[in-house]
Chain length 215, copies 2
Amino acid sequence: MLLLVKYITMKKQIPENTINRLSAYYRMLIYLAQRGTQVISSKSLANILGMKDSQVRKDLSYFGRFGVRGEGYKVALLSQKILHILGLEKGRRVCIIGMGNLGSALAAYKGFSDFGFDIRAVFDSNPVKIGKNIRGYHCYPAAEIKNVVKKERIELAILTVPLEQAQAVANLAVEAGIKAILNFAPVRLNVPRNIRVDNVDLAMELKKLSYFAGK
Amino acid sequence: MLLLVKYITMKKQIPENTINRLSAYYRMLIYLAQRGTQVISSKSLANILGMKDSQVRKDLSYFGRFGVRGEGYKVALLSQKILHILGLEKGRRVCIIGMGNLGSALAAYKGFSDFGFDIRAVFDSNPVKIGKNIRGYHCYPAAEIKNVVKKERIELAILTVPLEQAQAVANLAVEAGIKAILNFAPVRLNVPRNIRVDNVDLAMELKKLSYFAGK
DNA sequence: CGTTGTGAAAGGGTTCACAGCT
DNA sequence: AGCTGTGAACCCTTTCACAACG
C-alpha cells in the first residue's frame, strides 16, 4: 500500500525542459572536447549557455552524480553519460514521411546524422517521387510504411506531410510499431498513450515572434 | 517607493505558453469559422484542443474580456482579437537569411503567408544563388542585408544559415533595425536586449524524442 | 579551498471553484 | 440555467544556500 502511494507520488519527476537542456549541454561538451577542454565546472558551462549553475547541477542530479567535488565535470565522461541518458548511444533508426520541401530539407540536414540518427527510409505518396533517389535516400510509397518500418526496425518517424494526411500516415507508422513521432503538421495527432508525439509548428513560432516584436 | 515595489512585482506577467496557445486557438477558430460555427464555449474549444477550459479562459483574460457569460465566445470576434494581440492584423514583413535546404523549404511554406506573413526578401552568400529567383523570391547577397531590410522595413528575420555565420548575419540584421529573429542555427545569438530571439533546434527536438522513446 | 549534490525556499504557471453576468 | 472571468490553491520548476567532499 505504501508502495502504491510512492508510485503515484513518483509519477512525474523529470521536467521536460531538463531533457532539452541536456541536449544543449551535450552539444557544448562536444564542442569543448574538440577544443581540448578536459574538465568544466557547472559555473563555466552555465555561463557559456547563459543560465544558472544550479540549474546545470540540478538537471544532472536527476540522473546520477557525474562530477568531482572541488573539480568539476570531466567533459568526455559527462558527454558520454548524456548520450546514454538520451538513448543515443547505439544510434536511432529514423524515417521521414513526406518528401515535400520540408521533408527533403530535413533529409539533407547534417545535424541529424551528427548526433547518431540514422535515416533508414523516406516516404511519399506522389508517384513522381516514388522510387526516385531524394537527397541520397530511396523514396518508398506511403503504402509501404508498415512493411519498411517493420523490416528496418525504425523507431522514430518525422512527419512532414500536409495537414489532411497527417493522421492517416501516423496511424500506419503506429501500426508498424513506431515509438515516437516528430510532427510538423499543425494537428493534434490521435495516438495510443504509449506513443510519444512532439509537435513543431513553424507558423506558431513566427506568430510568437510577431507578438514579442511588439506594436 | 510603493511604485517601485509595484514595478518590480509586475515584471513578468504573461506566460510564454499563453502566446503559443493563442496561436493554436486562432488556427482552430479560423477552422471553426469556415465550418460555420458562430459561437463556442471555452469548454468546447478546450476539448477540441485537449486542454482544460479554465486554461482557455485564463489565457484570454490576460488580454481582456472577449466572451459573453452564459453564451461563450463569438468565433469571428475572438479570432479578430487574437490576430490583434499577436500583432498580425496588418501583416508582418519578413526576410529569410540563408537559402540552403531549410531556408528554401521555409520560403515555399504556405503556412506563413496564410497567417499574414509577407516575405519581402531572401538572402544568401553563395554567388551561384545570388540574383537568381528561388521559390519565387529574388535572392539578394548577404552583404545587402542592411540596405534591403531598411528599405523594405522588414521586422522579422528567419535565420537559416550555418552555425559559423549565424552571429555575423544576426549582427547585420540587428544593425538594419530588425525587431525579432527566428534562429534555426544551434547557437546562442548575442543581441541587444530589446531584440527578441526564438530558437528552433531541430536536432534537439529529435534528441528529446529519442529520450522519450525509451530504452 | 573550490565545486558538487541536494533539501528547502522562492517563483511561476495551471487548475479549481465560485461570484457575477446574461 | 449556463458560461465567463478571476482570486486563491495547488503543483511544478528554478534558484538558493550550505553541508559534504575531493
